[in-house]
Symmetry: C2
Subunit: 528 residues, 2 copies
């Protein structure tokens, strides 16, 4: 039994590629010691994975369906499919808690094999957890075990083909197991890009982007992932769904939008047709400084409402500007105050120049101070890096975690103040709360918070209490509990506050129609 | 019992405002006589409306809920709420067939009154048909009667308020009964526009736009109606749904997209929050000529994929270019061949100038020949006029009807050829089939067909056969059965071909959750 892609797999209790680990620089270590104190908390290296509890007959049947080499029960494979990459997930792994390990990892290679696994799982009442990059930060992989004969991690690692390219319509059909860089490489060979670069880009997959309504750092220019999707195929226990007969339709409700964000609870997405763009010839990122977070956010709104969005548009608040967690070497740098905005332009040189000129005129007119390309380069260099730093901070007893929300522009000041206050109150002093805006629309924007606090004796409980306080503040402000990370299990207690009990009932009714015995990701999105 | 808005109501068997009727000009009449022959077919003026079959106790209870003056059973009011405005609808009215007349028309004034009517209707098993502008062309108002104690037309004519304006977020919350011009007038007083101008604009309503996924003639610049909606409130038999906590969210599937296009079958939309824009300072429309439909469509695609869309972008095929049905005075004009494109620009003068310059450069480079502003002015003048001409042609025995679809760019040539051929074959000679593209996306476009043929002895059956042939061709080509007119009853037989039996099952499951006794628009969207 071999791992086809073990080199690309993450460490079970840390983020990403070990070669990219980010030990704290001395200056940062000094600052951390000053603020929080150093409290070395190494992860346990010897951990026990609970034994697989599947009947041998079930394993044999799965092997019959997929081939022996694609039905894995070894501890290492199962440990790597245990939960996702939220800070509580990492803390539990570091403490040796693997209670949520799946009983088996299966690797189908096609839609038909996925469908066959689902049919078998229905017949034998096995919980099925679709697994792409394993980067969920909302408990999207922690399926309920009680009442099931076993938990099957359905790893999509063998479904990595570019199924079709339509150069006229500028669409491409991708299999769900493709990680971000793999999808981009296949598309680049066709002169195309998807333009979807979330922080999890290096590890997360096409299927996961669709199932969780991901949004990337270039969303201002390329759009959220759900806006890129024009077609979907999914395997469900009741058969297949094939959706997307036109870019837009009035043939009833848009069922694509019902599968997007369905988190594996309605079906397993087996192909995604996305809008693509030509590979950009030019990329320029630059910095702007604003006197206040409000001033910078108002400038973003002006751009969005004028239809003048760059490809990347991002604004850090005062705290995040002074403590750039994406750049460990910069922690503790003297800040010249204010708030840093990153603007990025990608495309044909003429189009880049025209957009840059127009945006520059607007930002200058509103009082933005250009900072040149260095801050832009620095941001682009470190854009996928923050999760590595989190591991280094967890090692020294600092709790680091993020959460995000979105609202309409007029509500953004209240939402920002309320969530920040809720986090500071819940975590106590010393706590750093940083925030940035990285996704904008004509009518509103996202707010992405990062916290750093001294770990208590029970850092999981410490964070869950803070997360609950922040979530309460979010729904009290009428904002969304998540802009781009899905519901999972972590956000489920607040979902009814957002869409109503009746809205939850609709989701439950759809699940009952597509997955009548409830084998798909039980407990994710809706309660079983 | 008075009609609050009788002056704005349409004639039951004709389109629109009688003052805007469009008798055939002599030149057009001559051409029609030459091609089809003249065959005067006046509408019956004396028709019998089936008596209301509601029990007096039910009427009394409804009067108790809403007030006596808002529960109407007179023949005129019920006749005006009978079916919609498709050509078969008009032909049936003209022939005196009012079998689908509702038993009563009720006019609630608020969400709570709508909810109260639904509660009563559930208790007494009355079918409820939400009624806005009455402009459905897909049988969206022809609810099933069998098995119900009566049919209630729920007229939203009293729900015409602008409930909220958010100048920072640039959103407005509108009640569903506002007709297009009424909504624009309320918004104009705030310096805002919705920018939604479908051909039915003068009569159709905000609630109807949302329930049917309408798309307007300025969709290239302002977006389809479903793209304008950021929030919705609906009354259902199971309670209210309030959706839209942010411009975009990952808190599960987007349930707004489940209510959009739900055609009154899931709930009654009682408020819609839409993205708005500043009233444009400048509007310019102009014409371009292309040697072929393919060349013009390729130019549209180039613009869409370059992110360079004007506010209006429309292209007529050779046949429609030579026979502009929106301009009866122009029928029979000598044509200088090719295909006419209309480009329109709306906004701030600087933005209009910049976009116009960029689009002009692209179109000129692709071989388009500018025609100046006269064709643009002519189009803008006649843009809501075609349905009036239909009445005049029906009067002289010419069958006129439209249908539309959408697909991805690479499939557009096949779809165009197949639908045109299906219509020509089904209707026989002499038949004119005209087509235009009026909605474009990066990945595809709509195709809107207009036919004119000599009426047979049974013109309803004649059209239904042609419509069936065209619909078969559409689904065989993998396109959508409707881009912006909803499913109603007319498209229902083809819905499963588009979204699968399982997709239809999902819609049925959602309906069962929200409307367990099936009182809402029975037979519309999904079979009862």
């Amino acid at each position: 039994m071999v791992h086809e892609s073990s080199s690309a797999e993450m460490h079970p209790s840390r983020w990403g590629d070990p070669a990219q680990a980010a030990p704290l620089a001395d200056s940062a270590r000094g600052l951390v010691e000053m603020v929080f104190g150093l409290d070395e908390r190494p992860a346990l290296t010897e951990v026990v994975v609970p034994p697989s509890r599947l009947e041998p007959a079930i394993l044999a049947a799965l092997e019959e369906l997929l081939g022996r080499e694609h039905v894995l029960t070894d501890d290492g494979t199962r440990r790597l499919r245990t939960r996702g990459k939220s800070t509580p997930d990492l803390l539990r792994q570091r403490a040796g808690d693997l209670a949520d390990a799946p009983d088996v990892v299966v690797r189908p290679s096609s839609h038909d094999e996925v469908a066959a696994v689902l049919t078998y799982a229905v017949a034998h009442h096995l919980a099925v957890v679709p697994f792409g990059g394993g980067t969920s930060v909302t408990g999207g992989l922690v399926a309920r075990r009680e009442g099931y004969e076993g938990v099957v991690s359905l790893d999509l690692v063998r479904m990595k083909r570019l199924l079709a390219v339509d150069r006229v319509s500028m669409t491409a059909t991708l299999e769900p197991g493709l990680r971000g860089p793999e999808a981009e490489a296949l598309l680049a060979a066709e002169g195309m890009t998807l333009g979807h670069f979330p922080q999890s880009f290096e590890h997360a997959t096409i299927g996961g982007f669709a199932a969780t309504r991901s949004s990337g750092q270039s969303s201002a220019g390329y759009g959220r992932f759900d806006a890129l999707v024009v077609g979907l195929r999914a395997a469900t226990p009741r058969g297949e769904l094939v959706l997307g007969s036109a870019p837009a339709s009035a043939a009833g409700p848009d069922l694509r939008q019902l599968l997007l964000g369905s988190e594996g609870a309605f079906g397993v997405i087996t192909a995604v047709t996305v809008r693509v763009r030509p590979v950009p010839v030019e990329k320029v990122y630059e910095g702007w400084r604003w006197p206040t977070f409000d001033a910078g956010r108002d400038a973003m709104r002006t751009l969005a409402q004028a239809g003048l969005l760059p490809t990347v548009l991002r604004l850090s608040d005062e705290a995040e500007t002074s403590l750039n967690l994406a750049r460990p070497d910069a922690i503790g740098d003297a800040s010249d105050g204010g708030c840093l905005m990153i603007t990025g332009y990608e495309g044909e040189p003429d189009a880049v120049a025209a957009k840059r000129t127009a945006v520059t005129a607007v930002l200058t007119g509103l009082g933005g101070v250009p900072q040149g390309e260095e801050p832009g380069r620095s941001w682009a260099h470190g854009r996928f890096h923050a999760p590595y730093l989190r591991d280094s901070l967890l090692d020294v007893g600092v709790l680091v975690e993020t959460l995000e929300t979105a609202t309409f522009w007029s509500n953004a000041p209240r939402l920002y103040a309320d969530v920040k206050s809720a986090l500071e109150t819940a975590l106590g002093s010393p706590t750093l709360v940083l925030c940035h805006v990285s996704h904008v629309y004509e009518t509103g924007c996202s707010l992405y918070f990062t916290i750093a606090a001294k770990q208590s004796d029970d850092p999981v409980a410490q964070w869950l209490a803070a997360k609950a306080a922040a979530s309460d503040a979010i729904v009290a402000a009428g904002a969304t509990i998540t802009h781009h990370h899905a519901v999972g299990t972590d956000h489920r207690p607040w979902l009814a506050a957002e869409i109503g009990d009746l809205g939850v009932g609709v989701l439950r009714a759809v699940k009952a129609e597509l997955d009548p015995t409830g084998i798909l990701n039980p407990g994710i999105l809706v309660a079983p």
